[in-house]
Point group: D2
């Protein structure tokens, strides 16, 4: 039995023998030690390893007074939804859920029936990272297309465009794209328009996983509406957790008539918060004073800065254009593992020794400088 040998952890292609290593050596021990000296170090593992922006916490404190009706019938939730509509258009219907997986799965469930299929990139979150939640909850089929950079193009979709009206075949109903993509790349408005037109021509809908929508907005230097509602997106998962919030994502139906039964879907989907004002408060903070933009601008610029410092280092190879807050880079394994013990980050593909570096709203120049220095040092040591 090769199971133990083949037990991989994360992300895409981690060779078996190294999996336990990462988790046991770097995290458990490391963190407990650091706890004692009360200084948890920042790394580049994921933007959800960062904490909550103080302005978000302040707003949570601010709404914590008196009684409000539970389950979203409160003034803060009304206020948050109003803010959303200012950004996404008057027709937008907004529903808060707890996390990104739920936003994607329930949003899709709102516009699909079990005999439908959704087409997505094989690297997408709904295909790779939701443990089959889309299939389990919607009953639908998830079809994939292979992309080099996480972005779908129309020509890739053609192979799934058949079997319409034929009861033996899952009926294609939704195309789902991720903005910014899991590879850190960003769709242009034109690219999105093309896909939405393609979808609508087939009587299909366009779904956007916007777990990092703010990073995309900053990268494009365009307001949300321009590359969502106005570009033909029908259903949007609007995320905030990866950009300074604590938790709580929004399912946004951007066209009228799509959200008819959604209140039941959310409740049956176990995603209706009783004290919802504490999610709504976070979005109030997020939109107030453009907090979302400050956070995303910062993390994007930190990624650019980091990329600038490493892209020309001999022995490294940045594999994707750095457009938002993720950098994909090939690093000699022995080097990567040494650096990791100080600044944690994840391997992306161990077969090619490719690693993922994510910056976040709280990444500092010191983080970057310290990381790059150490990286250079270890590279030198191994030559």
């Amino acid at each position: 039995m090769l199971v133990a040998k083949h037990t991989h952890y994360y992300l895409y292609n981690i060779l078996p023998e190294s999996a336990t290593l990462y988790f046991v050596r770097f995290f458990k021990e490391y963190h407990f030690e650091n706890m004692e000296i009360n200084s948890v170090k920042r790394g580049f593992a994921s933007d959800n390893n960062a904490g909550v922006h103080p302005d978000v916490l302040k707003e949570i404190l601010a709404v914590n007074k008196g009684h409000t009706i539970g389950y979203g019938s409160d003034i803060y939730t009304d206020q948050a939804k109003t803010l959303f509509r200012e950004y996404l258009g008057e027709s937008a219907e907004i529903f808060f859920v707890f996390n990104g997986t739920a936003a994607n799965v329930l949003g899709l469930s709102g516009v699909m029936r079990p005999w439908n299929s959704v087409i997505t990139a094989s690297s997408s979150h709904i295909e790779q990272d939701e443990c089959g939640a889309p299939e389990k909850f919607t009953g639908c089929k998830v079809l994939t297309v292979d992309t080099s950079n996480g972005k779908i193009t129309i020509d890739l979709l053609e192979k799934h465009m058949h079997g319409f009206d034929f009861e033996h075949h899952s009926q294609p109903k939704v195309i789902s794209i991720t903005q910014a993509s899991e590879m850190g790349t960003v769709y242009t408005v034109k690219e999105i328009q093309k896909i939405s037109e393609f979808a609508h021509d087939y009587n299909m809908l366009l779904h956007m996983d916007g777990a990092r929508l703010a990073n995309a907005s900053v990268a494009l230097n365009l307001p949300f509406k321009t590359f969502t509602t106005d570009a033909g997106v029908d259903v949007l998962s609007f995320g905030g957790t990866k950009n300074g919030m604590m938790l709580g994502e929004a399912v946004c139906f951007l066209k009228p008539g799509l959200s008819e039964n959604f209140k039941y879907i959310r409740k049956q989907g176990m995603q209706l918060a009783s004290k919802m004002r504490f999610i709504s408060a976070q979005y109030i903070a997020y939109f107030k004073n453009d907090l979302w933009k400050k956070c995303a601008s910062h993390s994007n610029s930190m990624a650019t800065a980091l990329n600038d410092k490493i892209k020309n280092i001999k022995g490294l190879k940045v594999t994707q254009p750095v457009q938002s807050n993720g950098i994909f880079v090939i690093i000699p394994r022995i080097v990567a593992e040494k650096v990791m013990s100080e600044y944690f980050f994840y391997p992306w593909n161990e077969r090619t020794s490719e690693y993922r570096l994510m910056t976040s709203w709280d990444t500092t120049e010191e983080d970057i400088n310290g990381f790059v220095e150490l990286l250079k040092k270890e590279l030198k040591n191994t030559q």
Copy 2:
């Protein structure tokens, strides 16, 4: 078409014509007005209409430093789980989810297969208030028994004890009880033991919905373990939201071997929090300095105080023993509606003019006195 006429809202038996009334008249308008003068009034609608206890918020702030691995691999989550085991026993396996519906549904899913059934009181949350989430996610059948006080007894269960090993029939697998019950009543240890023995005799398991477990503990004056693990409970939904937390409930498997696949069930159930430390922090606060006990003692004693003041008032009739933080009372409808506009609460059964009053961790004596005074005044006015 009588649909509009028959459109009820809440809770059990609200006559159609009054439904819109409550929501439109009392909430929307009322709250917005109050918002302006910045003093939202407390009522007796639900313990989840209260806010978050300051100690819980403090702990959230305390863990908001540096980076931690997401999805529960952090020191705060470890710490919170350790605390749980101190209360529930060393074998307890703890998993945080977002809300009570998820705790119930996923906990059941962990020990049932789709061809099983769970037996519960017809007044239980999983039967009445989860929009079919148990059936949708587990695929299982929910069987009910009618109780007068929300508490199941063995004799009621017998009618479902048949069809074992017979493939045509959903196989009974779990008995689910609520502690404290939806009617505010509390099971004694002996009552729980009897049910768990009955369940185990049939090779079934005992599930406890503990959305108000702290209130039960205070009512019984017994530690959690005595009436859960030690009384034979197998799976427990441990709630905190209704007792001063912001959100986040715990699925607790109290016997070894029950949680084997649960990590997948939670993720596929869309209930794995990325920044989990902010749920864990709340439980750290909850257990620190016995915060859970302080909050529950307070709300229970407020219910007792309220009951003491109204139980002998002519024209009212308290219908259930007041054992935790809920009071069920028949009030003349015209009186109830007048009082409601100042201190909101929900009708429970409009046919019998029965109302539910819930106290919470932040209920004050002023709330009670003001409410009772107004109630008396309105009763007098209508005589």
Copy 3:
């Protein structure tokens, strides 16, 4: 562990110790022996223990020529559907599936969404005998009402008529009745009309499980349409297997617009037959020369004859009016078990020593006479 002791088999209340007995003693051994002497004896266990009427087999042979397009695009299926519409009305949309469970579950699935509930008698097939298939496939909640005779009345339904438009509560959408009922009783046209009006008033639909629809038609002496389409039934499971067919039931949508997506539901529900002509042929035979009526008349009259011979026997008590082809009768257990070894039938409720006797299209007067004689003899022996 009392599991073994409590392992019941069938039907409602069989005491544990006798379960193995029935199956091992009577069937396995008995049948194999009889096989050798090539004369399998008839009993009163179930109308599906009978074989296939010769006219049905003849039609199967008749359509077995040449090639036809699979999956229902053949002339025999067209012909069968046309016959159905003659009986049920021009608007009826007909879809064949394999068995009665599928007809019920898929028919309900066609008109419900997962957050809906269906209300049915607690003795109904969808509640007791489908192993949770309705919940698993539709995701819906099944609510029950207790009846003494298997027939629902409006007053019983009231308790479930609440929570409309309230997202916490499964939305009641369908009332499901069984005609003839599992207790052998038959709804009158007026009774059905009352329920359908009640359902439609609440914007709900009426589903009829017609596994024994022909027996009901004969009992009422009315054409199918009068007590289905014309009485307000919306969705009908039309059965034939229990009345002389081999297999294959029909989901009938009796109002326009209800079957829109059903072709996908049937295929995804694994119920689309490739060589469908062999199901269609059976229905062609069933309707030709009123075969359905001949078979059902025969089995109903055999039940009447049997009832006439036993209803006044001292020591027995017939517990339900005998309106179709089932008789429910209390027999001393020791007597029943002796008779059973010659003429097999099932206990219905061992606690009350109640047994179910089903006649079928092939029951003979000899069967009845032999059975009654033996019954009388054994009764005498035990006095």
Copy 4:
């Protein structure tokens, strides 16, 4: 809206404008006409367009006597299962279901939990032709690999071998292959062994869709057991409908311990036949006198004969090795459509003008000669 324009029917790549054409022009009209003159013509559309072998019908008639216990507790079902075990090994556990989709979906459901994934060829039946039934019923993810000839190889599987034990990722559990494949190709024993070893190394299982298993056995000239049980297959869908039966497929668990809960899965999956003896009888006939081999040998040899006659015709191109009873051939479209009106068959890929020709147990030399002559004539006409 291009929907109408893009409405494809079948099979893989039918251009939109021709879809309606096939169904309306060739089938509906054609068949009705022919019906009148009572001579339905055979074609090469699908092996399930053929009827039932007379020996199968004879056995159905033979078991139609007296009463037997329903739902499989009858002697014929025992007898059929015993025959199965002679072919597949003593450990094989056999369960009859109604059709091939159910055999695949329920068989997979028996060995998977919702958080698992199954890996299959993108051309497989479970991916293309079951309307999402696997996802809907199992809750699992279906992962695909692209193959040129319908056969999976190990190197293709590697890309899905990651994420084990990682809760974010659907856990790979089953590899599913089709024997003979949807492209008419046949796996050798060695090829199957390699895949089963690969699967078992990862603690996964091997599922085989054997809708055309008999054709594969004949093609390999090997008994079933050699390339199923003995080659490491764990779960098998054993089909008969495409090879002369009427309906009824078998889910076969080839290793002990895999079928523990399957009786509930089958019932809840709506696939438990009440008069099961009429499915069992078909398998008794199928195995008696090697009927399965006679039928499959015939249809395979008819495919060889047809291939021999067309493979060297100028203007045609056979695209797959002809190993069982399917031929894939590129034919000029104008020619194909003319021939089709006499001998119906389906386009496989309209973009490449590729067509699928299936022979069946009742294909005659006259069919082949007539078809080839017409094909040649039409080819000549278009030159």
